[in-house]
Structure formats: structure tokens, C-alpha cells
């Protein structure tokens, strides 16, 4: 399938995906069945065996899954796999690396994870400590520990960022493809968290993990370029599922306002409630227009880092504003799990921190303005 987001072929496919998401997205084998729909190969260029459908088409699919299923964890986990692992593999990988991993990632056989963050190096990844030393035979020996690794507990392939030279230098970073089965690689227990239920988060310990020379992605010293590529794409698109979650919550809030009475009148008759729901609609519309303008730029090959950061900042801000209004529409009911308001609010809070904090996005946007 080589299609674009505006083709009738894609529209039919997306309808099928929506049907799958309503029925099967909460099943234990959802990752595999999502892949069977062709979801994971969607953004990969056709010359690499993907659908070549592009970023806009993939974002529409991620939005649809979240909207139909109401779950944030699965689309977030898939996004981490797609944007932070599969995407840099497709962009930087050699023919041998593509042959070893790309088909498996697209088919759902291999789950990918990006292991970059360290306990002492959050958004400042240039100061990370995990070290990779090249042996006399050319193979690499990795030692260090990673945290906040999305998909970590279930991943089959880790894209590990490590230091191959001393000092906080751009040339000191390199990226490595490390299979879960590599001796010396230990997966920590699931990190308990309040947001994104179902998306697994964990730690990864590397104790003298030896991998062959050809496991280096982008070449020695190319880690910064790999990181920048992954972040540019991930920041732009990781919040696509939030659009679907907001659309679903907006529909439910309208229904709630039209059916619940307070003081003898329906909530929908109160100007304050109407205004809140209108502001939710405004947030969703703004977020959606920002995301898809960005996605079309990316498909045209003109997405730069400031725009990517602006997209994430805009979407996470609108997500937070949306949830604040949503909470006020429900009042005390917002605290009941069945309304989903508290969960959505936790997801919105998390969106300010993953893939670079809002402060980091502001810094990148400011640099882009020449400040």
C-alpha cells in the first residue's frame, strides 16, 4: 500500500482501523493485531518495504486509535516504537541493519524502545554517562544504565545512546542497536506511574554488553544526529493520540451536559458550562490544526526543530487547558474513575515532560527565533 492521507484507499483503510480499535485495542495481543492492520509500516518509505503513506496519514491513524479505544497507553507505546526507534533505524540504518530489524519492527514481531534518558541526565542528553568502548576486534562494549525507557519491559530491540568519547561534545555520542537477548543487558521492573496506563515504562542496565561493530547506527560520533532526528519527529507527532482522546472526551462532555440536570435545568443550559465546552472545542481545533500543518510540512520535507518543538508545546498546552475545562464541566464527578477525567488530566500532565520538557521546547523555539 503506497497511499496518502487524502486518498480514498487510505480512507477505507482508516475505517477498518477504527473498527479494529473499537473492538480489539484493549486485547492483550493488540500490538500484533495493530501491526497486522499495517499500522506500523505506514510511515516507512516504500523502498524500505513500508507503505510510504507519510506522517499525516500515520498521525490520523494514531488519532483514530485513541479516539475509538479511549486508551492512551497503546497509542503512546506504538508512537515511541514508531518515532524514536523505527524512524531513526529507517533513516540511518545500513542495508544490513534494515534487513536485521526493520521488517520485524513493521510486522510487530519486534517491539522497539529508545534508551536515552539517564538518572542524572534528563533533557540534557549530551551529559549522559553510558559508555561504549570499541575493542581490538571492532566490536563495542556498553556499560551504563537507562531510565524512563518507554516499552522497556517488553522491547525486543533497544536503540541505546552512549558516549564513545570523553567530554560533553556533540561528537561524543553514538547510537547502538542492542537486542534484548544481548548478554549483560538487564531489564528492570515496570516503573509504576499514574499516566498512560498500558504503556510499559522501565529501566535498562547494561553491564559490559558486547555487540558487533555493525550494531552502531549512524556511525561512531553520529549519535547526536540520530538523537536529533528521533526527537524532531517524535516531538512533532507523539501527541497525535491526544487529539483522539480529546475528541472522545468532548463528545462525552456534550452528552453529559445535555443529560444531567442541576437546579432544575440541564447543564447545557448554563452559560458557564457552554463556555467551558466551547473552549474545549477551541483547544482541540487549535491543537489539530497545528499538528496536521506540521505533518504536511514533514511530508514535504520541511519540518525543522523549532516547528517540531512548537507543535509539542502547542499540543501539550491545549491538552492541559482542555482537561482543566473538562474537569469543571464534571465538577465533583471528575474525581470518579468512570468519567475518565482524572486519567486524561494525568496524561496531559505527562505530556509536558516526555520527549523533552515544555521548558526545553521553549528553549529550542527561542533559539529558532534568533534569541
Amino acid at each position: 500500500m503506497t497511499v496518502t492521507a487524502d486518498s480514498s484507499e487510505y480512507t477505507s483503510w482508516l475505517a477498518g482501523l477504527r473498527s479494529w480499535a473499537r473492538r480489539d485495542a484493549d486485547q492483550p495481543d493488540a500490538w500484533r493485531t495493530a501491526a497486522a492492520q499495517g499500522l506500523l509500516s505506514l510511515p516507512v518509505p516504500d523502498h524500505l518495504g513500508g507503505a510510504g503513506a507519510g506522517y499525516e496519514a500515520t498521525c490520523r491513524a494514531m488519532e483514530a486509535i485513541a479516539e475509538e479505544s479511549g486508551g492512551s497507553g497503546l497509542p503512546f507505546a506504538i508512537s515511541a516504537h514508531l518515532w524514536a526507534c523505527q524512524e531513526p533505524l529507517a533513516a540511518f540504518g545500513t542495508a544490513g541493519q534494515h534487513a536485521a530489524y526493520l521488517d520485524g519492527m513493521m510486522s510487530g514481531e519486534l517491539v522497539g524502545a529508545f534508551a536515552a534518558t539517564e538518572y542524572d541526565a534528563g533533557s540534557d542528553l549530551l551529559s549522559l554517562k553510558t559508555a561504549a568502548k570499541q575493542t581490538d576486534t571492532g566490536s563495542w562494549c556498553l556499560t551504563g544504565s537507562k531510565t524512563f525507557v518507554t516499552n522497556g519491559p517488553v522491547a525486543d530491540l533497544f536503540l541505546v545512546l552512549a558516549r564513545t568519547a570523553e567530554g560533553s561534545s556533540l561528537a561524543a555520542l553514538s547510537a547502538f542497536l542492542v537486542p534484548r537477548s544481548a548478554p549483560g543487558l538487564t531489564i528492570g521492573p515496570d516503573m509504576n506511574k499514574s499516566a498512560l496506563p498500558g504503556a510499559r515504562l522501565g529501566t535498562v542496565q547494561l553491564d559490559e554488553v558486547v555487540i558487533p561493530a555493525q550494531a552502531c547506527l549512524g556511525g561512531a560520533g553520529g549519535g547526536f544526529a540520530v538523537l536529533m532526528h528521533a526527537m524532531r519527529v517524535e516531538r512533532a507527532f507523539i501527541l497525535a493520540p491526544a487529539l483522539g482522546l480529546m475528541a472522545r472526551a468532548l463528545r462525552q462532555a456534550v452528552e453529559h451536559a445535555r443529560t444531567r440536570s442541576q437546579g432544575g435545568s440541564l447543564l447545557a443550559e448554563y452559560d458557564t458550562i457552554r463556555a467551558r465546552i466551547v473552549r474545549m472545542h477551541l483547544s482541540l481545533t487549535t491543537a489539530r490544526e497545528t499538528l496536521y500543518t506540521t505533518a504536511r510540512r514533514a511530508d514535504a520535507g520541511t519540518l525543522d526543530h523549532p516547528r517540531s518543538s512548537l507543535t509539542k508545546l502547542r499540543l501539550s498546552s491545549e491538552f492541559g487547558a482542555f482537561c482543566a475545562e473538562l474537569s469543571d464541566v464534571y465538577g465533583g464527578y471528575a474525581l470518579l474513575p468512570e468519567t475518565g477525567v482524572a486519567q486524561l488530566t494525568a496524561d496531559a500532565v505527562a505530556s509536558r515532560y516526555y520527549s523533552g520538557t515544555s521548558d526545553m521546547q521553549i528553549k529550542i523555539i527561542a533559539e529558532g527565533l534568533g534569541l
Partner: protein, 81 residues
């Protein structure tokens, strides 16, 4: 301003926060010496793309292409305009 001067000026502007007052020369190591940090590199890339109308791919943001002013000029010379 010639393109030669433009590259020098662009890099000089971008590194002001990290290395204020440093007079750059063609063969001064920018990355190894920490004169260019991650954000200033992105700023250089963005400015070159915008003002020279070139496309610089992520896969090209490699130390060897940005290590010195001379390397940046040589890299730009390979780009189609």
C-alpha cells in the same frame, strides 16, 4: 557579503552564548572544543537552511560536516542549490 563570510558570521552569531568573544578561524575545532553546543548547532543548521536555501538532512548533521568553519563550507559546497 560573500558566502564565505556568511558562513563565518552565521557560526559566530550562533556561538555567542557558549563562547562569547571568541574570534573564529577557518580551522578552529568547533565541536571538539565545545564552542558549538547542541542548540547552537541547530541554530547554525536552521540559519544556513533559511538564508542559503539549502536542505540539510538530520543524517548530515555529523561532526565531520560541522567540525570547523572550513568543514561547513566544504559541506555546503556539496549541496545542490
Amino acid at each position: 557579503m560573500t558566502e564565505q563570510d556568511f558562513v563565518l558570521t552565521t557560526v559566530q552569531d550562533a556561538v555567542q552564548d557558549v563562547a562569547p568573544g571568541v574570534e573564529l578561524t577557518d580551522d578552529m575545532p568547533l565541536i571538539a572544543a565545545g564552542i558549538i553546543d547542541s542548540l547552537s548547532l541547530l541554530k547554525v543548521v536552521s540559519r544556513l537552511e533559511h538564508d542559503l536555501g539549502v536542505r540539510i538532512r538530520d543524517t548530515e548533521i555529523l561532526p565531520r560536516n560541522f567540525e570547523t568553519i572550513g568543514a561547513i563550507r566544504a559541506f555546503l559546497a556539496t549541496k545542490a542549490r
